[in-house]
Amino acid sequence: MPEGPDGGAPVHADPPDRPGADDPSAGSQPLDPRFTLANERTFLAWVRTALALVVAGLAVTQLFGPFSVAGGRRIIGLPLIALGAVVSFWCFRRWQVIERAMILGRAVPVTRLPLVVAGVVGVVAVVGVVFVLVGHVQ
């Protein structure tokens, strides 16, 4: 039984129609609404991140001036948009996984997507710098 958010007593909220909450064989337990609301806010934050990635890609391809490298704007912008699509599909799955882990009283599994997002954005930034430098050299 997990402790409350303040390290206090285990929490017993009462969401009666939570999926699986009334299935004792699944080892499920009621949740503190604060935990599930926090999970919901994390989901929404990922949705906003996905939208920001798409807009960034759109802005790079449409608003930037052309690079000296052919197709440079697309090379930078399209991976950001693709990453936005991946994040938006993935964040729902992540929300589900965390909900289930909380219902079953298990540890929340680790995800590598933040690393992937940071990696892709970092690589795109480096590529952008290289494109700018190549343009200056030429």
């Binding site: 503190d32 609404p33 919901e40 806010r41 697309r74 399209l78 599909f89």
Partner: protein
Amino acid sequence: MTVTAGPVGSDDPAWDAEDTGRPGDRTALAWVRTALFPAAVGASVLKFKGFQSVTGHEALGGAYLLLAVLVWAVGQLRFSTSRLHVSPEAARPWLFGSIAAATGLLAVATGLLLLF
């Protein structure tokens, strides 16, 4: 009603499971904030000159505005009965899934429009 520090539980008079307090307010605001994102994107795509060169920018901008309405509506549905009551729990996977799918499909559509 505010959430107090210290041990909490159903027998704690300081904690009412039906009253989500500040976490509920924060979540309601997060929904509004999330709805503003696609609304701003849609308005920019429709009105900003730099984006009007995108093929089918009217449809794309309109789709983002529809996504904003969807997010706003789901947020209202979640917190419609009262700011203090969270509902409907059972429908959440469908509601959240629809938002995630719509966002993802719009991202794919945006990428394809830029490609072709």
